[in-house]
């Protein structure tokens, strides 16, 4: 029994790592623009599907395919900001919710038209020889997921705390107007936010695809789960959201394994509702500002 729990824990942590990456993407855009980008999940889908496309259809080497997928997804993120978000000045949250939903439907629909409704798989990054740890088994891909997630989080941390652009983005997240008064180019920061979070989304989509397969509609659920992670983390673009994602992944894996796999997806949303009702500022934050 205990090694079974360990198994759930390990697989939960690896899905949780994916949720963390997506959640941080949500948080970065939210903090610099005040927008919850409902199209975030589509970046994740694009990462996986574009890699599949470049690898299996265009027949590029795996590394090249992955890099191109990240570049293309980032371009889509930037384009989305330019075409749909930037023209709307001072729009109400309602309008922004609707426009990002519209954008996500559009991206998903185009992906379906271009690549069809089939599910595709990507090869593992390095073999599929299981590694056994205290009775539980891991695939090398799980280690890749942990490693890449950790790497991105460290780079992120460095960017936000040790570079001028990163610091400027943090300034925006505290107060956009004040930031612009001290010379921060807010528009540029919004541009950065969309670029970074779409790139991170695509990476999440690429590293998870070898395990979970990918298709035009995987973005919806992954996006929503990532949002749950960000909510648990109080919309922080740092470590709190990472914990949120890992917690969600583990709870889901345990729930699916011990209670019922059919209700696996419901667990995330029950947690989401509970957090929104009881601690809308996130699990780890003190209620300093009203997050309404």
């Amino acid at each position: 029994m205990s090694h079974q729990i360990l198994q759930y824990l390990l697989s939960g942590l690896s899905t949780g790592a994916i949720y963390s990456l997506i959640g941080i993407g949500f948080a970065i855009i939210y903090n610099s623009t005040g927008i919850i980008n409902f199209a975030q999940g589509e970046f994740v889908m694009l990462g996986g599907m574009l890699t599949y496309f470049f690898l299996s259809v265009v027949k590029f080497p795996f590394m090249v395919a992955m890099l191109l997928a990240i570049v293309f997804t980032t371009a889509v993120g930037i384009l989305f900001e330019r075409l749909a978000i930037r023209p709307l000045k001072n729009a109400s949250p309602l309008i922004l919710v609707i426009i990002t939903i519209g954008g996500s439907i559009l991206i998903r629909g185009l992906a379906m038209l271009i690549w069809g409704k089939d599910t595709h798989s990507l090869p593992m990054f390095s073999g599929n020889e299981p590694i056994s740890i205290a009775g539980a088994t891991l695939l090398p891909q799980h280690l890749w997921i942990f490693g890449i997630t950790l790497f991105i989080i460290i780079v992120n941390r460095y960017f936000f705390y040790h570079t001028i652009s990163g610091k400027a983005m943090r300034a925006c997240s505290h107060n956009r107007r004040a930031a612009s008064l001290v010379g921060v180019d807010v528009k540029r920061m919004v541009f950065f936010a969309f670029a970074i979070s779409s790139a991170m989304g695509s990476v999440a989509g690429i590293i998870t695809a070898p395990l979970t397969m990918t298709s035009y509609d995987v973005g919806v659920m992954l996006g929503l789960k990532g949002f749950c992670a960000a909510i648990i983390g109080g919309m922080s673009s740092g470590i709190a959201t990472v914990f949120g994602g890992l917690l969600l992944g583990v709870l889901e894996a345990l729930g699916a394994g011990l209670v019922s796999s059919g209700y696996k997806d419901a667990i995330a949303f029950i947690i989401l509702l509970l957090i929104l009702f009881i601690r809308p500022q996130g699990l780890f934050k003190k209620a300093d500002t009203e997050r309404v």
Partner: protein, 323 residues
Amino acid sequence: MSTERHVLLKYILFSCAVLVAPVFFAGGYLLNVLVFVGINTILALALNLLLGYAGQISLGQAAFFGLGAYISGIATATYGMNPWLALVLAAVIVGLIAFAIGFPILKLKGHYLAMATLGFGIIVYIVFNETFELTSGPSGLSGIPYFSVGTFEFDSDMKSYFLIWGFALAMILLSVNLVNSRIGRALRAIHDSEVAARVMGVNARLLKVQVFALSAVFSSIAGSLYAHTMTFISPTSFGFNFSVELLTMVVIGGLGTVYGSFLGAALLTLLPELLRTFQDYDIVIYGFLLVVMIMFLPGGLVRIPSLIMARFDRLRVRGREHA
């Protein structure tokens, strides 16, 4: 007041059009589509009361629609209840559920409200799929009886048309009265600024929950009508995509306009029929319409006549200046 007469006249004209319409489509396939336009009009109207008037978004409307349909379906098909009674039962239960979750949910605003209602919708959808004993799961619930009065059954498109549009017209009348009343003004005040509304003595919190519950009851009734017209229901009709479709109807028709709900519902119900040749493209077209409409015509379809009039007026003024 003349505006009141104007409102009444509009309603009577609309009702007449609805009553006469089947003459042109009798026996045809389009009549069946118009039945669905009726159901979607009720659903869009329900969401519009909440979103367009009170300014509170809901991405979980399909859940209330589905709950109405399933409660009605299970009560009649499994437990042999009378369909009319089941409709009332479903509306009461769904109203109570909405009232109960309304208080914590409507404390949230904007994006957070959108996500919370979305989460609720997905949970309900999963429950439909997983409670096999009650709902028969993904394969759907069949054997739901038609509505009937004595031996008269509402079993044809023509009969369903009048039944459903009867309900729709009654709800439209109710909504028109509501939005032109003190409550309607209070709702619009909440939409513009909740703080200001509260300062003026509007019990914003309670009123929001009441509108949320009313919207849920309307959706539930639409669900019962749907279940007893189709006689078969399955979870896919009540998923997240349908909530988004309803949102699209309301935005395209016009936020905060009763007849806009009808226009949006009619367009989005007829569009897939007209675009049959495009098949899978419809989802792309929805997304495109949603983005383009909100960017370039935020008032919705109902604003088109007044926009044209305004353009015309401007031309006339310019013409006079030249003269």
